[in-house]
């Protein structure tokens, strides 16, 4: 899939086609693109309302849920930028700088794709599950409560879904790592060993990365750090490398082998 990473990055002025709320905190924003947007699963866009004026100043990095004529993003309201997105109405113009970053690497045919999502981190994984199509991914999806599982229906429709919530309000009670251990145990006996794709809160990704490392399982994560530019010029998005020094999440990520990251440093 990585070939499409060479698609020309462009600032697209797109009108909001529709906004669908999922509970109070989550929204899917779907845009209208005359020219189809060539994006790969795992890539992101820098998104900003064209009428925002001087504040909020910076665009917000958002994983793409779809590309094509109807590019879309899933947002969770956490601050001013996402609050504005959550109030946008149809027709409102947005600027999307896309496609950005390194997509998920392809899953070799001799591997079983295993998707591990946390909360809003589900977005790039839904895209991936759609791409996997016939291969029917096994997904593990965790959240604090049942309300923190936007798009769990989509994931379920695309393969097998196992849910874990911290309060037990849906699926098994506890963290995704518990469900992941079970899945890894099962797959240990399978012909095709798993390859894990993971996106969620840092603490979750660190735990998943650690578990996969112990089990000798390939693990790729999608990094989330604050970003100013999204295309490699501000140096605002460093992530500590296991080899020392920093890599930049916007150009060397967001999708990256978990082993390259120094998870101790992600506080």
């Amino acid at each position: 899939m990585a070939d499409a990473a060479h698609s020309k990055r462009t600032l697209h002025r797109l009108a909001l086609h529709r906004r669908d709320s999922i509970g109070a905190a989550y929204h899917v924003l779907t845009f209208h693109a005359e020219q189809p947007l060539a994006v790969e699963a795992g890539q992101f866009a820098m998104v900003r309302g064209a009428a925002w004026g001087d504040a909020p100043l910076l665009p917000r990095p958002m994983s793409l849920l779809t590309g094509g004529h109807r590019p879309s993003i899933l947002i969770k309201v956490v601050g001013e930028g996402t609050r504005r997105m959550a109030h946008a109405s149809g027709g409102e113009p947005f600027d999307l700088l896309a496609p950005l970053g390194i997509p998920w690497s392809a899953c070799p045919t001799d591997r079983t794709p295993l998707l591990v999502a946390g909360g809003v981190g589900v977005a790039p994984l839904v895209f991936l599950a759609r791409k996997l199509g016939e291969r029917k991914a096994l997904s593990i999806y965790g959240g604090r409560t049942a309300d923190d599982l936007p798009m769990h229906e989509e994931l379920a429709a695309l393969g097998e879904l196992r849910v874990a919530t911290e309060d037990g309000s849906r699926g098994t009670r506890g963290r995704v790592t518990v469900a992941l251990e079970v899945a890894l145990d099962e797959l240990a006996r399978a012909a095709t060993p798993p390859k894990v794709y993971c996106c969620g809160p840092d603490r979750m990704m660190a735990a998943v990365a650690a578990l996969c490392a112990t089990r000798g399982v390939d693990c790729e994560v999608s990094l989330e750090t604050p970003m100013a530019c999204g295309y490699g010029v501000c140096l605002g998005c460093p992530v500590k490398k296991s080899a020392g020094g920093y890599l930049y999440a916007c150009t060397e990520g967001p999708c990256i082998a978990a082993e390259r990251i120094d998870w101790q440093a992600t506080r």
Partner: protein, 321 residues
């Protein structure tokens, strides 16, 4: 109560006929729109967007003698109409710049301003000497005003004597034009500017960021790992324009204006205040085409009024009452 008369203008001219060239201390830039150090990478990240050679020039990320990793994350935080950054001058180092970046930039044909940073006068001089031999450098910009490093940053830029020492040492090390980047935190910016002029600076760049602090009220921690960071963006613009105005009336060398420029009107404000050229910084983040758009808008503005770009410089219409 504002029915003020419009500014001087002549009959409109064709866009292509507009003279955008501006003289900056010995060199003539093809137009007054540059990009600011640290906000434009090494100028090689824009191939998808536009030909950077259309610009008046680009300023490299701040270069040091040795490569630098930079500060721990978080390095950036947004504030009202601005942002704080504490990148910590992460850069590839001057050698890698000359070896890996400059040859490509030379091919592009863009005017390159090498922004340099050091913690001692001797290292500033070494950097300058190292770059002096390189082809394809239009000017060296001395960053004596970086707020995000422990040593050697703003100290030089806040003290007229120290700023002069750096300038003098670098002056002896190169015949390339020397631009000195001013700190807005200097108590007496005019004195710093004058001292640099006397020490041989060809131009002053104004301004670098002002230190700010932003705190997460949930965790009680600073939002940046370095605690403070430099404030940039539109929030800063009126302060930057005021400093350009003050400096331009104190010194005779040209001023290059920076601070919150996102639109053509912003660039014009700086030029009217006394800037001979400007640099677009933070605005590149939201829109990689920002500098080019500012440039095209300037061409329109001048065409509509039949003006050459340099006719805007210092034309603020103000008489103290």
């Amino acid at each position: 109560m504002n029915t003020a008369s419009p500014a001087p203008s002549r009959a409109p001219i064709a866009r292509e006929a507009v003279d955008l060239t501006v003289p900056i201390g010995g060199v003539t830039l093809k137009n007054p729109i540059l990009t600011a150090s640290g906000t434009f990478g090494y100028g090689l990240e824009y191939d998808d967007f536009y030909d950077v050679a259309e610009l008046g020039g680009i300023c490299s990320k701040g270069l040091s003698l040795e490569p630098r990793h930079g500060n721990a994350p978080e390095r950036i935080a947004e504030t009202a109409a601005g942002m704080l950054n504490a990148i910590g001058l992460a850069n590839v180092g001057v050698e890698a710049f000359c070896k890996d970046k400059l040859p490509t930039l030379r091919k592009r044909g863009v005017a390159v301003v090498a922004n340099v940073f050091a913690t001692t006068v001797a290292d500033f001089e070494r950097l300058t000497r190292r770059l002096d031999g390189e082809e394809g450098i239009t000017a060296i910009e001395l960053n004596v005003s970086c707020p995000n490093v422990d040593k050697g940053g703003m100290e030089f830029g806040c003290d007229p004597a120290a700023a002069a020492r750096v300038t003098e040492a670098c002056r002896a090390a190169t015949r390339l034009p020397l631009w000195v980047k001013m700190s807005p935190e200097a108590g007496e910016p005019k004195k710093v500017g004058l001292a640099c002029q006397e020490a041989g600076a060809d131009a002053l760049t104004a301004i670098n960021t002002i230190r700010g602090l932003s705190i997460d009220v949930h965790t009680w921690k600073p939002r940046l790992a370095n605690a403070t960071g430099g404030l940039s963006g539109p929030a800063l613009k009126p302060i930057a324009i005021r400093l350009v105005w003050e400096l331009s009336r104190a010194v005779t060398i040209p001023i290059i204006g920076i601070g919150g420029i996102a639109r053509t009107e912003d660039a014009i404000e700086f030029m009217l205040a006394g800037a001979s050229a400007v640099q677009v910084g933070t605005a590149n983040f939201a829109d990689p085409m920002a500098a080019k758009k500012v440039l095209e808008g300037l061409r329109d503005y001048c065409a509509a009024r039949g003006l050459a770009a340099r006719e805007l410089i210092g034309k603020l219409d103000y008489v103290k009452r």
